[in-house]
């Protein structure tokens, strides 16, 4: 049978996929993929902080990512730079600072590849608890803010005019983004987390006709990617993150055939 570490990785990955599915849909709908990237890159700083202070990794990543999101909002208000430039500035500088800090921490042994691309060997029982409890909390909060968040995604003014408080929903969603990155960093690695958010959701967009269906397909796509990816990772000794993302990409390519069909049907 499989080793314990593999079962742990599988359970962890399945937990992550349940959360990235719906969040990923919002990342696509609200055009936040680069924003997700920025938060993920800043996660490296969080990891180094966790190591130096002997602190929980998920918690410190969550704190640093939330902080970066706050800084971004402030910069957007105070400067005239376009949003994507600010995102690039924060993404690359926080990644760079993180790597420089790691260079100074010679007394700690770092598995940089594991951090960047995920490491299934690294998933502990504690991580499982963080992923499943944290994930359940994220989904619960998302369910609570679903209506205002979705309505303002469709049209901000309608949501605001009809009393749904879209600004609050947006702020809470930003925190949820930081949280999903924090709990999935060990699994997928910080360079590929956004892929885990976007690719299954993009696949789902190709084959769904309503927002609810897109969320469900996105979860299913994420689950399949995790399962296929992890078995590949075990079989060929590849990093877990890239294997999962490659599996997701294959599913996306398959979904393109469905689009072709429906376009043919229309004509």
């Amino acid at each position: 049978m499989f080793d314990d570490f593999f079962i742990r990785a599988l359970v962890a990955g399945i937990g992550v996929a349940f959360v990235t599915g719906p969040l990923g849909c919002f990342v696509i709908w609200r055009r936040l993929s680069y924003f997700g990237d920025t938060l993920a890159h800043s996660a490296l700083l969080g990891v180094t902080l966790a190591f130096t202070m002997e602190f929980n990794i998920a918690l410190s990543v969550f704190i640093i990512s939330s902080l970066i999101a706050l800084i971004l909002i402030q910069l957007q208000k105070k400067t005239n730079l376009p949003g994507d430039a600010l995102l690039g500035l924060l993404a690359h500088s926080s990644l760079a600072v993180g790597l420089v800090v790691i260079g100074f921490l010679t007394f700690i042994r770092f598995d940089i590849m594991g951090l960047l691309f995920g490491d299934i060997l690294a998933v502990s029982v504690d991580d499982l608890l963080i992923i499943w409890i944290g994930g359940a909390l994220i989904l619960l909060v998302l369910k609570l803010i679903w209506k205002p968040l979705f309505a303002s995604t469709v049209n901000y003014e309608l949501a605001e005019a009809e009393g749904l408080n879209p600004d609050r929903a947006k702020a809470i969603f930003t925190i949820l983004m930081a949280a999903i990155i924090a709990i999935s960093i060990k699994m997928v690695g910080l360079l590929l987390i956004t892929g885990m958010l976007i690719i299954p959701a993009a696949m789902a967009r190709n084959i769904s006709s309503s927002p609810q269906k897109m969320v469900i397909y996105s979860i299913i796509g994420g689950l399949l990617s995790v399962i296929i990816g992890l078995f590949t990772s075990l079989e060929f000794n590849t990093s877990s993150g890239p294997s999962i993302i490659t599996a997701a990409l294959l599913l996306f390519i398959l979904s393109l055939f469905k689009i072709k069909q429906s376009i043919k049907l229309k004509n």
Binding site: K147, N155, E157, A159, L164, S208, M214
Partner: protein, 248 residues
């Protein structure tokens, strides 16, 4: 006071400044239950801005807005919907409030687009989409309806029917309506109170009062004045098919 309890939204000397330019300034008006208040004015006179101020979409305004209800239905003038969303008419109907099937079907039937229920929102024509927007706004049975050119792009017969519907809704639900319309005929026949805007309130009052106002005449020109003054005279005669005028 009983009249005060009927007020749904009230603007006190409200205005909005953007990049040191006044979009609209010093607007005072109120919408009461069962009443239709219409904003008229040339392009860029601040009609949509005033509607958005009343809705609370703008936060940093001059003056104040008192909004006494959160049951609001809004039909914006322009709506940009991102087509990265797979959104059917049915999904759009429950965007801001959960409604049961009967309520959705009833509203879509009233605006004549029930057959489009399962269609993708992106596949609708401009006029069809406008009807869906109106159906969505009325379906939640709001206290206050804000309609910013609700029939734009709707065909001629549809336009008349929809305005009749709006009037009917105002009577049945006794909701207040803030309407922006270029159709002076509607303004004159269906409206209780007219506010004529041109960056500020240039005149306001009952349709008759506004029609007599000289500023209004200067703003809209002689032709509009004639359209409006048609409603001023009492119909003491009828036009026969032969073109003769017959006294009643």
């Amino acid at each position: 006071m009983s009249t005060d309890q009927n007020i749904l939204v009230k603007l006190n000397d409200a205005g909005l400044q953007l990049n040191n330019k006044w979009l609209v300034k010093g607007v005072s008006l109120q919408v009461e239950k069962g009443k239709i208040v219409t904003l008229i004015g040339p392009n860029g006179s601040g009609k949509s801005t005033t509607a958005k101020i009343a809705l609370g979409i703008y936060k940093k305004i001059d003056g104040s807005v008192e909004k006494y209800t959160n049951k609001v239905g809004y039909v914006p003038q322009k709506i940009s919907i991102d087509w990265t969303l797979p959104l059917r008419v049915n999904d759009f109907m429950v965007l801001t409030e959960s409604l049961n099937k009967e309520t959705i079907d009833e509203a879509l039937s009233l605006t004549g687009v029930i057959h489009l229920k399962d269609k993708n929102l992106g596949d609708l024509s401009g006029g069809e989409f406008q009807r869906v927007l109106l159906a969505r706004a009325i379906s939640k049975k709001p206290d206050l309806l804000v309609l910013d050119e609700p029939v734009q792009g709707v065909d001629f017969t549809g336009e008349i029917a929809l305005y009749e519907l709006i009037k009917k809704i105002s009577d049945e639900l006794s909701c207040g309506i803030l309407l922006i319309s270029h159709d002076l005929h509607t303004v004159m026949t269906a409206t209780d109170h007219v506010v004529c805007l041109n960056g500020h309130v240039c005149c306001s009052g009952s349709p008759m009062d506004v029609a007599k106002n000289n500023e209004y005449k200067a703003l809209f020109g002689e032709q509009a004045f004639q359209i409006l003054s048609r409603y001023e005279h009492k119909h003491d005669h009828v036009h026969t098919d032969e073109g003769e005028i017959k006294k009643n």
